[in-house]
Amino acid sequence: MSSAPDDHSLDMLIRKLESIATLSDEERQAIRSLPAKTRVLQPRQDIVRDGDKPSQCCLILDGWAYRYKLIGGGRRQIFSFHVAGDIPDLQSLRLHTMDHSLATLTQATVAFLPHESLRDLTTRFPSLTAILWRDTLIDAAVFREWMTGMGRRDAFERIAHLFCELYLKLQAVGLAQSYRCPLPITQVDLGDALGLSNVHVNRVLQEMRGRGLITLHSGTLVIEAWDELMRACEFDPTYLHLEKRAAA
């Protein structure tokens, strides 16, 4: 179905962009008037695949998605996890062939935004172009942190760092508070994201629980000792470039 201008599904995008920048009323209205086709997708369903040439971008409205690449022997690298408000394939607006895939992690509601409309929006509002550029720069900053983690952090630090990152990203768009957030990521997913075996992930999670740093139950992560977890992995949230951080 197509959204009417009074359908507020695009408010998810506004909320996300407002977590990293300030929008004017006019810019908010322009975003709200984007045409969007909303769909509900099943878990583990590809949204766009490596090699595709999409003509639209995908805005996550509800649920989780992840970017990944498959290489020989069934090996999978997960590049990032995405939640409501993210446009994980925004790059397809300028890079016409996908160099990786995007899939749902959970059941997800997504809105497809035609490239043509997004291009028109960015032509009419250079300030929005700058904000979307800022978003892609932050995306690159997150990649740098993941690279540092995979190259130089041990298993415990990698997982702790990802938990801190996900909590702050979710909190910034109102999806987490009181050091509690949804975490529908399996141990295999965590391993594929962080270059670890699921056995090592399991051991680290046991250690974190044993030290009273976290509890993880039924897809909910509770960070029981935020300061200690941050210290343990030298987490510095500067790279997320969040404009405003709500009280935890």
């Binding site: 022997g73 069934g74 090996r75 270059g195 075996s197 699921n198 056995v199 090592h200 399991n202 051991r203 046991q206 250690e207």
Partner: protein
Amino acid sequence: MTLRLQPVCVRTGSTDAESQLVFEDGSLVAVLTHLSDEYGDEAGMWFLEVGFGPVDDPRSPKFTDLDEAQNWIRRKLTDFSAHGGP
């Protein structure tokens, strides 16, 4: 090719401490760890804790028993020799 196993305790920081050192011709080629009950469906399997040289594998494979693990290790070592390895 004959492999020799030597039981050993590995400090994994977890409950799965029962391991086997795997030797080929006197050289250590792998360490296998027996997965404890913590691992649900995978409990009881043997995990390639570490593999040296051609036995290294980023997929960190798991095996249903030690025979399967040793067959896999032999194959890796044989393939390596067949492709001009030392």
